[in-house]
């Protein structure tokens, strides 16, 4: 939403400058034009400032304290940050988060793209299947997680295990095995997010000029070549958006892990935000939790900025 602010403000700056020496009346009009969008945005910005920006900044400020709500906070400088970089539990949570984000985002994009290729088009049956495929996105994450917990029940009469049993596999422990838990959580995230990516890809596909395909046909391009040289390049901006949304989503993954494993077993699925929740909400160590979230915020900003920068370079 806040991005709208910047976007809405930009066109006013793009207004042609007119003559080299504008008359006073014209200048006043220009100032007025510049201010108008901001005035309209003011109520929304004020609400964001109070409920979003201020808490974020305040959380950053608290990172430098040992927070003692009643006795008064103690300034400890970079103490919390030093603790964070040397905390092995946080280190392993960060590693899991990176693996989870990379795998879940990558696979969601891949399956989302394949689904989009399969299900693009105006035909009724495609629309029906698209709706069905999109259902996981609409379902509440907590409910979805609970269902998967039942599906992945770790004994031979669990749903997924009895299915695998037909092929002589299993029973697998899935979420209960430290070696399989992270992969299981990733699988659920892919199932949940791939259709979301699919919808964005479909929108992108619909925007590709059909004439390019026809021209390629005439030139004798095969399916793969059309995909490689027309579809994927045309989708580049869409891919960046999907990737950026995925990174943000991936780095702050919480609900599915919290519901399914709470970071277990043996810390195998501990993520930065589940760890954050434990230190902040369960143990009441707000200063340390604020420091971790501040660091997470900075990493997310850097990661998305880099994505954006690469995108900008590619497009120019």
């Amino acid at each position: 939403m806040s991005a709208t602010a910047t976007r809405a403000a930009t066109p006013s700056r793009a207004v042609p400058a007119g003559g080299s020496r504008p008359s006073p009346g014209r200048r006043r009009r220009r100032i007025k034009q510049g201010l108008t969008p901001w005035l309209f945005l003011l109520p929304a910005l004020a609400i964001f400032a109070i409920f979003k920006f201020w808490p974020v900044l305040y959380g950053m400020w608290l990172s430098f304290f040992e927070v003692r709500p009643y006795l008064g906070n103690l300034w400890i400088g970079l103490g919390n940050f030093e603790r964070a970089v040397t905390d092995p539990a946080l280190g392993s949570a960060a590693l899991h988060t990176l693996i989870d984000a990379a795998a879940a985002v990558g696979l969601s994009m891949l399956f989302g793209f394949l689904l989009a290729l399969l299900l693009e088009g105006p035909a009724l049956h495609l629309r029906l299947i698209r709706t069905a495929a999109f259902l996981p996105v609409v379902a509440a994450l907590v409910v979805v997680a609970q269902l998967w917990d039942v599906i992945m029940y770790p004994s031979s009469y669990g749903m997924l295990n009895s299915f695998l049993g037909f092929f002589g596999m299993g029973p697998n422990e899935f979420l209960s095995d430290p070696d399989q838990a992270l992969a299981s959580v990733i699988l659920i995230q892919v199932w949940k997010h791939a259709p979301y990516d699919m919808v964005i890809f479909i929108a992108g596909l619909a925007g590709i000029d059909r004439q390019l395909y026809e021209a390629a046909d005439i030139d004798g391009a095969n399916r793969w070549q059309r995909l490689r040289f027309i579809t994927i390049p045309a989708l580049r901006p869409v891919i960046t958006i999907v990737l950026m949304l995925g990174i943000i989503r991936g780095l702050r993954v919480f609900t599915e892990v919290f519901v399914l494993t709470n970071g277990g077993p043996a810390g195998a699925t501990e993520m930065i935000v589940t760890y954050l929740y434990k230190t902040g909400i369960e143990l009441g160590d707000f200063g340390y939790a604020s420091a971790i979230s501040t660091m997470l915020l900075l990493v997310t900003i850097v990661a998305t900025s880099v994505t954006n920068w690469i995108r900008g370079r590619k497009e120019d």
Binding site: L62, Y70, G72, I248, L260, I281, L297
Partner: protein, 450 residues
Amino acid sequence: MKPRHRRPWIGAAVVIASALTLSACGGGDDVSTDPGDDTSTAATDAAEVSGPLEVWVRAANDSLVSYEMLFEKFTEETGVEIEVFATLTDFETKLSAAAAARDLPDIVINDASQLGNLQSQGIIRSFDQSSIEGGDDLSDAAWSSVESIDGQTYGVPFSAQANLLFVRTDWLDNLGLQAPTTWDEFVNVAKAFTTQDPDGDGQANTYGVAIPGSTQRGYISWNWSTYLWQAGGEYVEIDGDTVTPVIDSDEAIEAATWFQNLFCTENVVQPGALNATTLETNEAFQTGVVGMYLTGPYNIPTSDGTAVGGHYTVVAPPKAPNGGTSTMAEGTTIYFMVDSEVEAAADAFAEFMITPEAQEIGMVGNPKASIVRLPVNTTVDSTTVRDGDERWGIAQEVYESDGHYEPIAVPQWQEMRQAASDTFNKTISSCGDMSAALAELNQQYEQILS
């Protein structure tokens, strides 16, 4: 595809900033006060009692209804109005926010295990036990649960409980077994429940023991504690105000290894136990997946209402090889908050809550939620109040003779319990070396306590 806004960096940053809000509660100004010193005792002269009294209680739905029955009764008797705030979600976080805003309630009703934590935050008031009218009737065990490390009293106990072993009687009968009384018998029954098809449906779909093995709220070590104390071990030794960790003792290692073997060598624990909170574990027992469950008496009414109702019994937890008979004791405490302007009313409230009348209402006033599990008042008899239900008599007996509280007076206890849980969950999932793991945990405790 060309048009893109000019400043994507700023746009992206702002979007993320809004997406990533950790609503950090707490804070407040950098003012250091010393409210922990407040040992004043309020006058209990009824004539001075005035309200309203702001009470925060960790309850919701049915349990809140039960509390409100008591609150109404109190208002009826004293004329003091009560303003209630009740929640189960993030209760402590909300309390921290209130502390930061210097707007604490007058009374907080919360788990006994919050004692050290609340005391170290300086938000609860100590007082002289003898100033509480009717305090003499409370059991010593209950009073011990509100005593800080420096020997001061920081709350009035309101409800108590001790863990019991729930066992499926029909499964025992089918296999011709008795409820276990020792660790060895416990393992044997568990093995029989797992391998001999006690429910007779021809499928290998039953298990011996239900254990909440998740690290959430420290469940796994919480469940294990009973065995630790039975074997003669402790988490810490408290001498005066020095707290020394002793979790690497031989007794602790014995209890931990035995507990681990239930998972690793005997394979008698329900599937998925290491991710299970009490919610899933209750379900495993109540849906007939598991035949034995070490849990609190609060699960008696809930289990009676399910398919296993009438098909199970409760017994004292099985004894350790050395004959040790401890069991996890817990409770609910009424804490007086500092800065209260209605201390007399707060005292009167606590005095009311421990009267036999109030304790009975708390036990059976609302059959859907018993907020007084076991009465702290020794003049109240559990079995009589609960229409002769012997199971509650057993619960009370076990509590009085073997009840053992966690070291809840240690301010860092929550963090220590979490660390113990992490250690257990991790070591058991890899079936690793318990004595090495406990040695490491002991070192971790030294760090936490330093």
